[in-house]
């Protein structure tokens, strides 16, 4: 499979009280053509920050190092004009909160047309016609009327469909979806996930799906990367991860979600709390909460192979040998 997006050693540092702290450290992953990669983790693990870094949308006073290779170019070093051509055109993004990510003072049609006019040089009337087509594509009824309405006139689910229409406008190669269904009710979430699955399959789009919901991952993704405290602790094909989770954090996550079917057993929580940026400590970042922590965990583990394309950042798997970079 051809690699569309390749992230190498991405490290992101934030300036907090006059010192730099690593929010994301040494993150590497790749997404193939037509592939959906799930980036899972709890709040503060760095998954959203990672996605913003790919789009170069991080605030100033942020240090970013590493590489983000897209079509042979490193997105972290290309000039801003070139980046503007890529954003919304080659790589587009869907955010969690559909109310705040649409501009309340512009009509739906105007907002969708904007990127068409900008990137495709369409005339206003052609862009409008295209917008209506896009609204139909994402399953919005009465598209001809909705195109002239304002965001506040739509429900949450409809707004998220509009967001998807905007992201799809220029038929991007890569779609980044940051918790696209978290703010929605389950029955609406089912609609949106269904829509996203169909659209990405039809257009062979590569998708980076950021979520905290393992259920969504199981349903949508081909491969998964699990993040904890700014690092990817485990990644591999989705079936592999769910059948044979290797890293103690992944195992912990799976054990602490209540099941919808089968026997009801007491949950096994992961004790303690996620460390804050300022006191990350040295060695394995999960060690303080890990039920299997050992002496060696005071040292920083590498990513080790535990199966085909399945890597775990845990000393338990060190015998398998360090993965070649």
């Amino acid at each position: 499979m051809e690699k569309v997006l390749e992230v190498r050693d991405l490290t992101i540092e934030f300036l907090i009280e006059e010192r730099y702290h690593q929010a994301v450290q040494g993150v590497s992953f790749e997404i193939g053509e037509g592939e959906t990669l799930g980036l899972v983790g709890e709040s503060g693990c760095g998954k959203s920050v990672t996605s913003l870094a790919l789009m170069r949308l991080l605030p100033v006073h942020t240090k970013v190092s590493g590489q983000v290779r897209f079509r042979g170019e490193d997105l972290l070093t290309v000039g801003e004009p070139k980046m503007r051509q890529i954003r919304g055109n080659e790589i587009s993004m869907i955010f969690q909160e559909p109310m705040t990510s649409l501009n309340p003072v512009h009509r739906i049609g105007t907002q969708i047309s904007e990127s068409l006019i900008l990137h495709r040089n369409l005339s206003a009337s052609k862009a409008r016609a295209q917008s209506i087509e896009l609204l139909k594509l994402v399953g919005i009824p009465r598209a001809e009327q909705i195109v002239d309405e304002y965001p506040h006139q739509l429900s949450g689910g409809m707004r998220q469909r509009v967001m998807i229409a905007m992201a799809m406008a220029c038929q991007p190669t890569v779609l980044i979806a940051d918790e696209p269904t978290t703010a929605l009710d389950v029955t609406i979430q089912a609609q949106i996930l269904d829509l996203m699955r169909n659209l990405t399959a039809q257009n062979r789009m590569s998708t980076l799906l950021i979520t905290h919901d393992l259920g969504v991952v199981a349903e949508m993704c081909d491969r998964v990367a699990v993040m904890y405290a700014g690092q990817i602790v485990e990644q591999g094909p989705v079936r592999e991860i769910f059948r044979h989770p290797s890293h103690p954090y992944t195992i912990g996550l799976m054990n602490c979600i209540p099941k919808i079917a089968g026997e009801r057993t007491r949950l096994v929580p992961i004790e303690g709390n996620v460390p804050s940026l300022q006191n990350m400590g040295t060695g394995c970042r999960f060690a303080p909460r890990c039920p299997q922590a050992m002496e060696v965990c005071k040292n920083e583990p590498q990513e080790y192979d535990v199966g085909t394309g399945h890597k775990s950042r845990c000393w338990l798997h060190a015998e398998a040998g360090v993965t070649s970079r």
Binding site: I188, A190, L214, I257, R266, P269
Partner: protein, 321 residues
């Protein structure tokens, strides 16, 4: 022996919609529209539904944080809605509430200790020495260290704050606790800690819970019985196992099928509902679910389905069952 602790009958809450210069009422948001259920001593009743189904309003109406439009709420045989101010004050020691948002539910200007002392001060419970001991007992019970008593809420994580919220509710030794989405704002690893804590507390203190949530797996995990709401009306109620294995109402079926299962090989027969939730200000005629129901017939558009018992303890409101 099951004994009813809380009985709710035909609870209704309409919020008036005001318009114009003279603020005349032009309609009502029918947030809760005729809900009846019983909660037995020591059990957990789960209440599920999507946004706008009235589950939160229902919880707050039972406690009279919102004054219900009509209906009857009985706690240990006493008519709660008929109580005067003094009677209600005493009743509040019996029924408590835990809120969803751990960031908004603690007073930012009180230390944790002050927050936990507050209920005892309000009800003039214990002497000062006993109060302090009680604060420490409460902190210990919810798994927080004693020195946290002198810290402010902003120094804590969401999970720790939620523990404080639970401790505050327990400070007056209530019999019933209404948990309004208590884990919705928490990360999964912390969510499981809080769910376990709630189970332990229920066993130790013989508490009765009304657990309001939108997450069905959480509700299944913690509840003995589950009530499903849709647009302010009851759709279905049954024992937890029964409801999750044999749902009868088409809405319950759709809801259950919509949950993403954390298993890539799980077989899915997904029922994807068309359209959006109707507005509770203008609910559909007949069965409120008919606009999205995959099996609706003409009768559903005209007649409101009756609430009837299909099997022992399994009630449903649907013409087609």
């Amino acid at each position: 022996m099951t004994e009813a602790l809380l009985k709710v009958q035909d609870l209704v809450k309409y919020f008036p919609i005001h318009r114009g210069v003279f603020q005349h009422t032009v309609g009502h948001v029918k947030a809760v529209d005729g809900i009846s259920f019983t909660v037995n001593r020591g059990e957990t009743l789960g209440v599920v539904g999507e946004s706008g189904c009235g589950k939160s309003t229902m919880g707050r109406s039972v406690l009279r944080l919102i004054e219900p439009t009509r209906g009857r709420v009985e706690f240990e045989g006493k008519d709660v809605l008929a109580l005067n101010k003094q009677g209600m004050r005493i009743m509040r020691r019996e029924m408590q509430i835990v809120f969803q948002d751990p960031y908004a539910s603690l007073n930012p200007r009180f230390t944790i200790g002050q927050t936990l002392l507050e209920p005892m001060k309000i009800h003039h419970l214990h002497n000062p020495r006993e109060r302090l001991q009680h604060v420490y007992r409460l902190l210990d019970r919810v798994g927080l260290a004693a020195e946290y008593a002198r810290r402010f809420p902003h120094e804590f994580s969401g999970g720790q704050r939620q523990r404080v919220g639970i401790a505050r509710a327990l400070a007056v030794d209530p019999k019933l606790v209404i948990l309004d989405e208590p884990v919705a704002a928490l990360d999964v690893s912390v969510q499981s800690q809080v769910l376990n804590l709630l189970e332990d507390l229920q066993n130790e203190l013989n508490l009765t819970f009304v657990f309001i949530a939108h997450d069905l797996s959480v509700v299944r995990h913690i509840s003995d019985r589950v009530l499903v709401l849709y647009l302010g009306r009851m759709a279905e109620i049954a024992d937890s196992e029964e409801l999750f294995t044999h749902p009868l109402h088409p809405y319950t079926k759709a809801l259950l099928s919509a949950i993403p299962v954390p298993d890539p090989d799980a077989k899915r027969e997904r029922i994807i509902l068309q359209g959006d939730l109707p507005s509770p200000a203008n609910p559909p005629s007949g069965c409120p679910f008919h606009t999205r129901c995959p099996v609706a017939v003409d009768k559903c558009r005209q007649e409101v389905p009756v609430w009837r018992e299909v099997q022992s303890g399994h009630h449903v409101a649907c013409h087609l069952v």
